[in-house]
Amino acid sequence: MAGSTEPTGTAPAIGQPLWLLAELTYQCPLHCVFCYNPTQHARINDEMSTAQWVDVMQQARKLGAAQLGFSGGEPLLRDDLEELVQEAHRLGYYTNLITSGVGLTPTRAQKLKDAGLDHVQLSFQDSTKELNDFLSHTKTFDLKQRVARLIKQHDWPMVMNCVLHRHNLPHVGKIIEMAVALEAEYLELANTQYYGWAWINRDHLMPTREELQEAEAVVNRFRAEQEGKTGPRTRVLFVVPDYFEERPKACMNGWGSVFLSIAPDGLAMPCHNARDLPGLQLPNVKDTSIAEIWQRSNAFNAFRGDSWMKAPCRTCDERHKDFGGCRCQAFLITGDATEADPVCSKSPHHEKVVQLVKQAPTRRSIPIVFRSDAESRLLHAEPNA
């Protein structure tokens, strides 16, 4: 498949999997319309055991993994989370709980603190109860406020994450105010990345360039006000809306470069959206060692280095800066994972991205799809089932 002709590129140097993402479960009490989990999540239910996760953490740590994110789905749905955090802490990981907040009771928070959890990333959908609860299809706004206070009571550094799209971009100022009031150390304003459920719902989520520019101006004003301030403050990260850019993101800092994601069923992926890429033959930690997976598996080597690249990436002087962008995005939009990320204006498929943005407002008669097991089964019905 990838790079089968003219191996003129440099041989890929294999680094260390510094970042381990443990997606403990795809189950989630929320139903967010922009969730990046695979839309076939309901069919993936052979979750790994505690012992299997412990083994994964031990192997990855030996290979150099230092940052460990417990994610999902909602990782708090696993009742062995405290046990896993404790083992991760013992191994020397810097541990991060990536949560919706649902299930973070005072009792569990105390247990996680005792287990050595280092920080918490809490998702919010909006600064208003109405939109938060609508987009997640749950009544969770008040709960998240309580959880945020609980996180601060336990002296965890808090990252608040809010996915941005056309519905909440006009509220960015209020979202920042809320993060400051809740004493978040970091606010991640993550413009929607169109994968999974977000890809299905892209027409409903896609903002206009003007909406984005206004929001970014608000962010920049806030940053300017913070300049030179001492004492605790909230750092705002603005994840670029890449459909509106001329150059792609340096996705995963390069394929198989530093990032290792393990799905609930043990599938090992160089990117948490790689499950849908055709022909990858993703390895599974249930039957293959992490060292073997990281260093020798075809999937992790498929897009390492630059020998897999086609034109225009192959000869582009920016190819070691953005690594050709995102493989999943290339596949979703061009049908070929070895193409340049079409976000790039040099891509022959760039016009498709322009059209996706332009046509979105005309395509909103299609119903919005809330993430749920039922919708997942509908989208991925077995033929003749």
Binding site: Q16, L18, K62, L63, G64, A66, Q67, G92, Y94, N96, D118, H119, Q121, D155, P157, V159, E185, Y186
Partner: protein
Amino acid sequence: MSTLPNQPKLSRRFRLQYEEAQSRWVLLYPEGMVQLNPSAAEILQRCDGVRTVEGIVAELEAAFNAQGIAPEVQALLEEGQRRGWID
């Protein structure tokens, strides 16, 4: 100029740790890791809120049989303060 505290202390928001696999010291923080060069690591290990800047300089000069490293220590601490590593 110096707004540095006399007794610099590593922020509790950062964890200084030796990484065997990388053969170097790193600073870990939410969703990030700073890979430190050996001199930065030596300096930051001594930022305990008790030692003074002068004390750190003297200690390092003695330990590494070096002289005149005060500007380097100062620069690293200022950089650390700017990036929130130092309280």
